[in-house]
Subunit: 160 residues, 2 copies
């Protein structure tokens, strides 16, 4: 069992794995007579052989410490997770090392943040810690397989 | 001033204007070892001459009664609104009557519900009543104009 410390989600540290989707800094444009800021096109979907679709995921909640021994990836599309309650969640990703996942990393999002996991990036399953457990997911809709699962050698435990 | 009573969002009543995005009934598939239900592809983006993008809207809050005298539409793309806090919001739409909007309707979503406004459907600006005012928006990213605004003759007031 290897412990992994969850770190606050940081756009630079997360960049190799995807994008942080957050209303950070000044909006790209003010709309609706100045009442609403638009933060534009924060994570362009990267979809092969299909199109972007909008789905909802309703997951049960997870507590820390959280143990896992599996990661997965989607070779044909990025996958954006947008929490539908004002809660942070846990994001587990791993670098690719010649076709298999290397040492996983764990990030804790802040309330109001989503993430897009890049196409083909190893990641853990959706892990909500608090809130409704309801997420909007923008990912690939299309024919054919789009899931690779990998059983890790040894298990990992995410701690605060 | 014409009063409009806001009604609870109902998929059948809303169907002429777009889709309700909600985790209603049984999920289409159970994933993550049965811990997570996927409600699949609830509102396929309808995009002309562009692609679907993910943006965030941060709006100030609105109170009822709410008065307005303008609606808008996007001829080149549908627009999905997904609240990022567990709160309902107000959705104003209007039928098209020969190129101009007819009598508006107002719907109140339940917490955990989003909507997709159909391509070319007249609607009011984003109106959040409670919560963070933060929404994920999936709409068209592409070149050229995609906004028509229409100043109504007389103003309307949404009441409970």
């Amino acid at each position: 069992m290897t412990d992994i410390r969850a770190r606050p989600l940081d756009a630079a540290a997360f960049a190799p794995f995807g994008q942080v989707i957050a209303a950070a800094g000044a909006p790209d444009v003010w709309i609706n007579g100045g009442r609403c800021g638009r933060f534009h096109d924060l994570a362009p979907p990267d979809i092969v052989d299909g199109r972007a679709g909008i789905s909802l995921f309703q997951t049960s909640l997870t507590a820390l410490p959280y143990s896992f021994d599996m990661v997965e990836r989607h070779p044909r599309g990025s996958q954006a997770f947008l929490p539908m309650s004002h809660d942070g969640f846990l994001v587990i990703v791993a670098p690719d090392t010649g076709g298999t996942p290397g040492q996983p990393l764990a990030f804790l999002t802040a309330p109001g943040q989503g993430v897009s996991i890049g196409r083909g990036v190893w990641h853990g399953v959706l892990t909500a810690l608090t809130g409704s457990g309801l997420f909007a997911v923008v990912d690939r809709v299309g024919p054919g397989p789009n899931l690779e699962e990998f059983r890790l050698t040894g298990s990992y435990r995410v701690v605060r």
